[in-house]
Symmetry: C2
Subunit: 184 residues, 2 copies
DNA sequence: ACCTGAACACCGTTCAAGT
DNA sequence: ACCTGAACACCGTTCAAGT
């Protein structure tokens, strides 16, 4: 696993960037792209891909790093402009929407690979949820003592709704159920 | 896809049973067993496995058919002996426990392969949940108008808790959250 | 220091050939 | 009617050989 920027030889950095770019492009349409295929499209040897990314999840995280950061950065402005529970609902919706398009990231976040992911994406997302819950606790809208991992696990239901016309309604119903469960 | 019992040639039935038995055995310890490996251990050609089971999910369903039936059959006695919400909690716990050991079945139940599964396992499980919710509705303990698929999707959180010592506590916390969300 | 790409040990799936 | 098992088109991953 090479770091994103620091101290990479020029060709190494170029390869790394190409891999991420190709992967991002490929993942936009479907989740099942082989790492070999990504390497080939990026014009690098498969070993090069593995030199930069220890496994599929590591590549996923890198591909979506900025999107996750943008999402997490939304928490503060949302909390500034809305009551905690409203901000929470809005952010949860944004998270669910993001996870539905970003193939495999949701599982990487909730899944057993949590360790690898920790500092990169899991951490920030957990931090975002924590901030929302704390704000709700402070105003008494959210029941105190909630575990962030519990909430994250529940939220998984949101990005597992089958896609389609009825999916939106189911998403809204689930959101209500989840909010009810965490409300004071 | 051959049916389980009817009108199978003797050797065909023998092969089918062997495959299911070997698969059940293998799945007891781990979820990642290849279909080829199952066929080999069962002493049949890989084509034979595919003749009997169109895909992995079909085999999974068959392997766990009886366990699912037993689970579903528990609903009536539970409802007879406990208040609806208590019965619901107990059955949800049993379901979660079953899904944690029965590798891959949970995803097959909630996942996108829902169609294939419908009549076999998804149907009965949904029926069981429906019965529990209806009983709770009748006594006013459960809020009316709940969607079974919504509840099933929420329950998914229960069998996604990472295994380990803290897993039990997280399971209990999640159960409370879910019950709170469906209570009147 | 980094890259290449053949090679390894697998997958799931198919299908000609057999009985 | 059913079975076999080689064969196909892939996987993820490794590692000698190169620059």
């Amino acid at each position: 696993m090479t770091p994103p920027d620091q101290a990479l030889r020029a060709d190494a950095k170029r390869n790394r960037d190409r891999i991420v770019q190709v992967a991002r492009e490929a993942l936009r349409t479907t989740g099942d792209v082989s790492l070999n295929a990504i390497a080939k499209t990026a014009g690098v040897g498969s070993g090069t891909l593995y030199r930069h990314f220890a496994n599929r999840d590591a590549l996923l995280i890198e591909v979506y790093r900025e999107e996750i950061r943008d999402l997490v950065d939304q928490v503060a402005p949302l909390l500034a402009e809305h009551p905690p529970l409203v901000a929470t609902r809005m952010w949860f919706e944004a998270l669910a929407e993001a996870m539905k398009t970003k193939q495999g990231l949701g599982d990487a976040l909730t899944g057993s690979t949590k360790q690898t992911v920790t500092s990169e994406s899991y951490g920030p997302v957990v931090g975002a949820i924590r901030a929302l819950l704390d704000a709700g606790e402070a105003t008494g809208e959210v029941r105190p003592g909630l575990d962030v991992d519990d909430v994250l696990l529940l939220l998984g239901a949101l990005w597992r709704v089958p896609p389609g016309a009825e999916g939106d309604e189911q998403g809204e119903r689930l959101m209500s159920l989840i909010l009810r469960s965490i409300a004071a």
